[in-house]
C-alpha cells in the first residue's frame, strides 16, 4: 500500500498451548501437538472427539465493569491484548484514547446464545434475560469489549469473515495506519470453542473424525480427514514507523502488503485462481516479487478441497522454490484467532530465522501441487513471509511480512 510504513511493536497470544506468545512458540518449535481429546459430549450425530482448548484462566484478572459484557472469546482477547500492549511498551492499565481496534470473531458467543435460547425455549419467556446478553453475542463483541477494556477511543472494526477474520482485521488495521487515518491499532482475532462450531464443519464434511489428537489434523497429507476446531486469541499492536521510532519502541516486523478479495463462485468451496490472485495482489501491494518471499504460511486447515486449492495456488505462483507449512497440525484451527496466532508465529520465525514445518505431514497429497514441504525445522534468511487466511463465505486474505529496514 502506498502510504505510511506500518510496523508491529507488540503481540500477545492465548493458544491451546497456553498463555503467552513464547509458550506457543516453544510448543511449535518443539513439535508438540496441542490438541487433546474432548470429554464425551453425548451429542447424537456428532463424532468430533478432538479439539484445541485453551487453559482456564482467572477471568477476574479483567475488572468486573469490563468483564460483565464478555463471553470467553472476549476474555481470551483481553489476555492477548494485555500481553501485546505490554510488549509494545504501552501501559495496559492506562486508557489508550489514541488507539483503534480491529478484532474479529466468527460469530458472537455460541455459549451465551445456547444459554439464552435454552431458557427462552424452555420457559417461553425473556424474563430471565440479563441486560448483558446482547453485548456477548453481537457481531463486534470482541472488538467492542477490547476497546472498552483498554480505553481505545479511535475506530473500532470487527470484520465478520469467519476463519479469515483475524488476518483481515490485521489487514484493515494496516490500511488504517498506512493511510494516515490512525496512528495506533490493536488488531487480531479471538474465538471460543463450542460443539456447534465442530458440528458445522462436520455437517459440511470438513471436520476430522480422527479420535487420536496427534493424528487428527494433518494439513496437506494424503491421510488428512479435515480440520480440528480450536480456540484462543491473537493480538498485535500496529503503528506507523514514525510513531514507533519516536517513542523508541522495539520493532518486531513490518507489514509490507495486504490484499483481500472474494470468491463469489461458491460459498463453501475455495478457488485456487482467487487465492493466487489474492497472493499476487498482496505482493504487488508490498512492491515485491514471488522470488522475494522465503516462506509461505498456509491457511491449510487439512480439508480436502481447501488444501488442494491453496496448494495449487501457491505452486502456481511460487513453484516449488518456496517452503510452505501450516501450523494447524500443531494447534488445530482456532477460527478467527487462527490468522492472528499464525501471524505472530510468522513474526517469531522471521526474527529467529528458524521456520516450523507442518505437524503430521508425512505423505504430501500430490493433488495439492508440487510444493516444497520441509520435514524438519529449516532456516530462511533475508526474505519476506507471505501469510494466508481464507474462510467459508469466499473471503481470501494474504499479508506480506518482513524485517523492518530503516
Amino acid at each position: 500500500m502506498r502510504g505510511r510504513r506500518v510496523v508491529i511493536t507488540g503481540m500477545g497470544a492465548l493458544s491451546p498451548y497456553g498463555e503467552g506468545a513464547s509458550v506457543m512458540m516453544r510448543g511449535l518449535r518443539d513439535g508438540v501437538c496441542a490438541l487433546r481429546s474432548l470429554q464425551e459430549h453425548g451429542i447424537d450425530g456428532l463424532h468430533c472427539g478432538v479439539a484445541g482448548i485453551v487453559p482456564r484462566l482467572d477471568a477476574k484478572r479483567v475488572p468486573r465493569e469490563s468483564r460483565r459484557t464478555m463471553s470467553p472469546m472476549s476474555l481470551h482477547a483481553c489476555f492477548a491484548v494485555r500481553e501485546a500492549l505490554f510488549q509494545a511498551g504501552l501501559d495496559p492499565d492506562a486508557p489508550l484514547p489514541g488507539a483503534g481496534v480491529a478484532m474479529g470473531s466468527t460469530i458472537g458467543s455460541p455459549e451465551v446464545l445456547q444459554e439464552f435460547f435454552s431458557a427462552y425455549l424452555r420457559d417461553k419467556s425473556v424474563d430471565g434475560m440479563r441486560g448483558t446478553v446482547f453485548f456477548k453475542v453481537m457481531s463486534h463483541t470482541v472488538a467492542a469489549n477490547v476497546a472498552l477494556a483498554f480505553g481505545c477511543a479511535r475506530r473500532v472494526l470487527a470484520p465478520a469473515a469467519a476463519c479469515a477474520s483475524g488476518l483481515m482485521a490485521v489487514g484493515l488495521g494496516y490500511e488504517a495506519v498506512a493511510s494516515g487515518r490512525e496512528d495506533l491499532m490493536i488488531c487480531g482475532g479471538a474465538d471460543e470453542f463450542h460443539l456447534l462450531t465442530a458440528a458445522t464443519f462436520e455437517r459440511l464434511g470438513a471436520a476430522s473424525l480422527e479420535q487420536e489428537p496427534r493424528l487428527a489434523s494433518r494439513p496437506f497429507d494424503t491421510a488428512r480427514q479435515g480440520l480440528v476446531c480450536s480456540e484462543g486469541a491473537g493480538a498485535l499492536v500496529l503503528e506507523s514507523l514514525e510513531r514507533a521510532g519516536a517513542r523508541g519502541a522495539e520493532i518486531l516486523a513490518e507489514i509490507k502488503g495486504f490484499a483481500m478479495l472474494s470468491t463469489p463462485a461458491n460459498i463453501a468451496h475455495p478457488s485456487a485462481e482467487a487465492i493466487e490472485t489474492c497472493m499476487r495482489e498482496a505482493l504487488d501491494d508490498a512492491l515485491l516479487r514471488p522470488q522475494d518471499i522465503g516462506y509461505v504460511n498456509a491457511h491449510a486447515t487439512a480439508t480436502e478441497w481447501g488444501d488442494i486449492a491453496e496448494g495449487r495456488a501457491v505452486a502456481g505462483l511460487f513453484g516449488d522454490a518456496v517452503p510452505v507449512s501450516s501450523l494447524k497440525g500443531h494447534m488445530g484451527h482456532a477460527m478467527a484467532a487462527s490468522g492472528a496466532l499464525e501471524l505472530i508465529s510468522c513474526i517469531e520465525m522471521l526474527r529467529t530465522s528458524v521456520y516450523i514445518p507442518t505437524y503430521g505431514l508425512e505423505t504430501p497429497d500430490a493433488r495439492c501441487g508440487a510444493l516444497r514441504h520441509p520435514q524438519a525445522s529449516f532456516a530462511v534468511t533475508g526474505k519476506a513471509i507471505l501469510k494466508n487466511s481464507f474462510a467459508l463465505g469466499g473471503s481470501n486474505c494474504s499479508l506480506v511480512l518482513d524485517h523492518c529496514c530503516q
Binding site: K60, R68, D127, G128, G131, T132
Partner: protein, 88 residues
C-alpha cells in the same frame, strides 16, 4: 420473612453478582453512587433479586424508584407483606 433474613439474602446476592465488599453493604449506601452500579447493572439487579428470593415480581417497574440499599430491603419486605410476587 424476617428483616435480617431479607438483608442477608440481598447482601449475599449483591456481593456475589456485583463483586461488592460486604462492608460496603449498609442501609444508606446509594446503589449507583456508593455501590457503583450503573443502568446496565440495574437491569440485572432485578433478575438477581428474583433469583435470590425465588420469586417473580408482579410489577418490576416499582424497583425503578429505589435509591439506597435500605430502600431495597424495605421494598422486598413490602413485597412479602403484600404478597405482590409470584413464586417461581
Amino acid at each position: 420473612m424476617q428483616e435480617k433474613e431479607i438483608k442477608d439474602i440481598v447482601d449475599a446476592a449483591l456481593a456475589d453478582e456485583f463483586e461488592l465488599d460486604r462492608a460496603s453493604l449498609v442501609d444508606d449506601a446509594h446503589i449507583r453512587e456508593d455501590l457503583g452500579l450503573d443502568s446496565l447493572d440495574i437491569v440485572d439487579l432485578v433478575i438477581v433479586i428474583e433469583n435470590a428470593f425465588n420469586f417473580k415480581l408482579e410489577d418490576r417497574s416499582k424497583l425503578a424508584g429505589i435509591q439506597t440499599l435500605g430502600d431495597l430491603y424495605r421494598f422486598i419486605r413490602d413485597i412479602y407483606e403484600h404478597k405482590s410476587f409470584v413464586e417461581k
